[in-house]
Symmetry: D2
Subunit: 419 residues, 4 copies
Amino acid sequence: MPGSTDILAGLSRIGPELEALYRDLHSHPELGHAEHRTSNRVARLLTDCGYDVRDGIGDTGVAGVLANGDGPVVLVRADMDALPIEERTGLSYASATTAPGEGGTPQPVMHACGHDVHVTCLLGAARLMAESRDAWNGTLVALFQCAEETGDGADAMVADGLTDRVPRPEVCLAQHVLPMPAGRVGTRSGPVLSAADNYRITVHGRGAHGSQPQASVDPVVIASMIVVRLQTIVSREIGMLTPAVVTVGSVHAGTNPNNVPESARMEINVRTYDEDTRAKVRAAIERIAKAECAAADTPKPPDIERFGGFPPTVNDEATTGKVARAFARHFGDRATTLDLQTASEDFSEIPKAFGVPYTYWGIGGTDPDQYARAVKNGTLDSDVPVNHSARFAPVVQPTIDTGVRAIVVAAAQWLTRAP
Amino acid sequence: MPGSTDILAGLSRIGPELEALYRDLHSHPELGHAEHRTSNRVARLLTDCGYDVRDGIGDTGVAGVLANGDGPVVLVRADMDALPIEERTGLSYASATTAPGEGGTPQPVMHACGHDVHVTCLLGAARLMAESRDAWNGTLVALFQCAEETGDGADAMVADGLTDRVPRPEVCLAQHVLPMPAGRVGTRSGPVLSAADNYRITVHGRGAHGSQPQASVDPVVIASMIVVRLQTIVSREIGMLTPAVVTVGSVHAGTNPNNVPESARMEINVRTYDEDTRAKVRAAIERIAKAECAAADTPKPPDIERFGGFPPTVNDEATTGKVARAFARHFGDRATTLDLQTASEDFSEIPKAFGVPYTYWGIGGTDPDQYARAVKNGTLDSDVPVNHSARFAPVVQPTIDTGVRAIVVAAAQWLTRAP
Amino acid sequence: MPGSTDILAGLSRIGPELEALYRDLHSHPELGHAEHRTSNRVARLLTDCGYDVRDGIGDTGVAGVLANGDGPVVLVRADMDALPIEERTGLSYASATTAPGEGGTPQPVMHACGHDVHVTCLLGAARLMAESRDAWNGTLVALFQCAEETGDGADAMVADGLTDRVPRPEVCLAQHVLPMPAGRVGTRSGPVLSAADNYRITVHGRGAHGSQPQASVDPVVIASMIVVRLQTIVSREIGMLTPAVVTVGSVHAGTNPNNVPESARMEINVRTYDEDTRAKVRAAIERIAKAECAAADTPKPPDIERFGGFPPTVNDEATTGKVARAFARHFGDRATTLDLQTASEDFSEIPKAFGVPYTYWGIGGTDPDQYARAVKNGTLDSDVPVNHSARFAPVVQPTIDTGVRAIVVAAAQWLTRAP
Amino acid sequence: MPGSTDILAGLSRIGPELEALYRDLHSHPELGHAEHRTSNRVARLLTDCGYDVRDGIGDTGVAGVLANGDGPVVLVRADMDALPIEERTGLSYASATTAPGEGGTPQPVMHACGHDVHVTCLLGAARLMAESRDAWNGTLVALFQCAEETGDGADAMVADGLTDRVPRPEVCLAQHVLPMPAGRVGTRSGPVLSAADNYRITVHGRGAHGSQPQASVDPVVIASMIVVRLQTIVSREIGMLTPAVVTVGSVHAGTNPNNVPESARMEINVRTYDEDTRAKVRAAIERIAKAECAAADTPKPPDIERFGGFPPTVNDEATTGKVARAFARHFGDRATTLDLQTASEDFSEIPKAFGVPYTYWGIGGTDPDQYARAVKNGTLDSDVPVNHSARFAPVVQPTIDTGVRAIVVAAAQWLTRAP
């Protein structure tokens, strides 16, 4: 009975090509919604393998569909975009690319989050699946998403008709390279990535000369009270076993010492791991902002706007269990439990649009010896560059191999009858 | 044309009697509503002088009315009660008196606020007026008020029919002995004594085990936020040239470290000098307490109870001007402008009940040499005992003489045609 | 090869006696340090089984030692004391007992935390071990600890020479009945119970008349600022994946609205799960309290006193793994992972005194049907009474059986060669 | 015996010229340190009258010295600069002037503070004095100060050797046109204008990703705590009868919601009326900022920088009394007591540099009928434009006449022997 082993048989053969592809992608990072070179390359390679390609979804998203007889449909997603960071890895294939920033000034761009690994691995897996059609049945959707870093790529693809442009999958899969030893894969059931929500609060006070506070409603004091009060959400309203963060990242009011300004503006970021807590924190922020404005008798209530942000990523228990068991069989003790991550992702918008379950796992990207030394020296924090660091540089192997294997092994749980 | 000079002619004659009376009153202080010995003595002396006496007004208040032909009615008020303070003046005539306190335990009592001076001076003036009826026309009402220290004596007398029991005056007068040089009299137009209002706020939270704050609505945090927020009333809502104080004198919540309590209670004292500011502060306290409870989503709004307290004393401009000019003529450079006082009084409830103007002035009680030395040494704060101090001990003379003169000179502005 | 199955063979035979013992203990609860009846009963029963008994350790603690040839020494601990709570279970064997409270007033006493279950199960396991000496080798120490609820029983036994009075064990074991379905046992590696630390902070301000705040250093405002500031420990200083709670359970200052008091006192409870976080929170509390006093320029720094409290309970990974695997074999799917508990315990002081590893697990006490209904109705919080509730009433079976089995199975991992 | 009456005899004659001068100055406002046209005009007119002129003092300041025999030296100061405000008075002689602003953009300029009135009146008085030398003895220094609005003009003139370039006066005098009825002059002994001090506080925290507050020291929270804490200076540390304001006019930190920024910056304005309170508030601000940073364990203490600002203007009692009595004789009931002003001035730096006493008074500029209507309607705040308003437009007469008279009458108290 054929299975993932058969599909993966060709991996060593295509390995060198994948490594070259990876280095090329790393050298040519592109910001979200501008992944033109990357998506062209992806579309051409998928076409070459026989995939039916739909591109330009939500700007620069690409989907390749490989129908291989009756059977389940499985969607695997990789994200393509890079970050406005100046690379300091010292790699021979480091990025020297820039993109136009605000006002047209060139800004450096870098694959500092490993999306180049994701693209390479999914293309590798897609090719192996295409080259071993006898080993499986069903349909594989290889989805290359744009603009994950800006939080709006998945939404843009959904808004642009994704669910009508590819077959409805039974399950969605995705992976992320992380600062753990290369070769390792980690799964986690339930909450895995945090939701991130942004709020902008504008406090409307009343300006006055600084010597006449009684003529004012002081938005500086109100904003300060709101900042102070917001601390009680995490300290009092959320239980200690429920992770949540409320960070006021910016506050701005006034232009000089001697006038009470008209208004104050603050921006808040919230991290939670489930929809209940997410809703509870949102309600608390709104309640506190309004009440503090009422305490000061402002001429009108605050404006509270939600913007940007990411949903929580909560892995389906049954789906994750199936994948975790397959990983344990395939990877042995390199298959581990993934720690709860403080980062966020918009991947879950895709299965949500289809109304199907999903699982999202991590693969290691750090040189295992370097990792082991850092653990021994207690210098994990300083010696192992993390995602979004200018020094984030996954080792090419076994990272790429592991990522390809993980996709094939996971997809095979639905697309083959044997493990 | 006769005037105050004629009335005061007998002062030197009755001086020794007044001084003896003062020492006796000082030795026998009585708490508010318990001024039995004092009011009996007052009633008897007024009767002896020919006054028509009404006693037992609002418990222990006494009024003597001396009708002397056609002419204006002038009311002069003195307060009679003492304080639960243990006297430490070292005077030969110091109080050794006690009164039953809470649970029946005896507590020391002392004339630490100088009401004994007030009673003595008004009795002295009343007698001089009675003995010089040719020198003036009209009606003098000598009013001896109970329970000023507890803030309810004037109200009690009004509630007990004061306005029906004495003729309606054209003006009301009162004086207070203060830690300024004896012999001096000070007047002030407009605000002179503060209003004092007490508030009790009960915050209703929700109790929970200390490890489960999410199950609680934490009244300790809410009460703390209210205390912090209340500071902004004086710092932001009241102009810097408008005096106001908001003091949270007590806060109580919880019985042990490990439970979030059900509720918190705080008591607040407010000082203001005019009804507008008084109302503004009251509204702000209520607004802030309610909003902070709303910010925490308490199961119900706070209870806010006003209790005790004193009205502001705001001297009528025309009345005060008339008295101030008369004092300037009579006392020369010993007539000064009185500083705004941080203390409070309920005297103004009496003219308010009659709907008539009033003025309230200060007389010095400190030995002038001691005062001058303290000014020179910069030790006024430590070397000159103030009202309510256990060492407050007005010098008998020229304090008594000055107090009698001040009453007669002021009353004469209405009751005689000459200054 | 004999194992725990052989030892447990007699369980059904002694079951009725154990149930009767449990009901008797439940009817006769005793407060910490006063467990005279309980410890006498324990000592007699241990003696009857052939244990070498040492009693009166740390007041009312009892240890039974059963040496059974060469082999490891295993210590199993049960706690004996009850709580000052009035029982409302409606059970036929409910407590009607009282004990002298403060001032001699009788207060109700109840086994509201299930220590009666713990005593019964350990006595049952001790008897089974004694009656099946052929099935195991080594030494069993059955330790009955006093005064767990007051947090000082384990310390008292250690201070009273426990480590010299029983053989040094290789491992220490303990269990607790919890509001989960009876029949279930839950293990957890690493942190399992929180540390609880209490702090008492006294803020030294300067009193003054309420109208003269400038003469004061206001401890009410300082205490409020400290309460507000303490919220930032959990919201900012501790990561969202690290559980911690800082609760200010009480704050007291002042006696009336009109005086700024001299001082304020607050009591704080802290929950953490590891010594690093525990130390970090302690340092933050001290830093904040001192800095807020410095901000207000208090005449002297605050007094900060630590009192009461419990250490964290952190299960040894290897020990817990060994026990968890044995439970999985014995109990099948009734062996689960225990959730992190917000409660605290002083059990860990005992293995700490010996310098040996330990594991602490939970057994269910709730009727499984009742539990299932509550889950289905979403009424777990209201329908399943928890420890310290006046309605906490473990079902007798399978609670007792499960508790006896768990002890025997766990101890057998060291005392027999077969699982 | 000649006196101010003789000196003022020529006022009606020069009135039309002064009015024309005033309208011309009003049409040609110049910003501080750029008063070139104004100072040239002043210098020429002084020279024409026979004054010995020193110009270019501290940039654009001018002094005219008229020595008239033996006798006291009196310095009278007028300020010359205007404000970057777009005039909206609708006057026929309104300003249409602009000056280069930041980056060279033209900005409108307006005499919105009445310095044109001050210049006109001092030139008028200087001319009358010059034309009536028989009526007085001594020396008049007519000082035209630059850059009062920017707070550095008086300092600049002193730094540029003012005290060596004009004779040392016995007294310094200055006046300001205010929104009170034209024709009125107001004096005040003691504090009259507030000190204004600016502080810039930079809080040094530690930046981190918004989801990792434990890696940060959050300057947004610290700045908020400082703002909240600063409220207690006015509410608790300064007595209610001592005016003081602490306004945080601006606070800025962070650029996006999702990162804890490195630092926060806030700007504070303080108003006080005496050097003791000024120093007390300064010390409290520094103490609070440092302590709040210590409470959060910042990597280094805050930077606290004082910038800009004005000294308090505290009129000498004897000097003010002398002038007030002269005003009462000359102006009758148009001579009043000036209210304490919330504005600030740098005039006092000049007498301070000479070490001599001073007095500073106000003259009315509002149409008396308009003022009376506004009082009657309770619309003073909205209907009477105040200094620095784009609609501030003193009526030409009797404002100019009154200002000239006030200078002459005041100076005559030292320069003539008759009142």
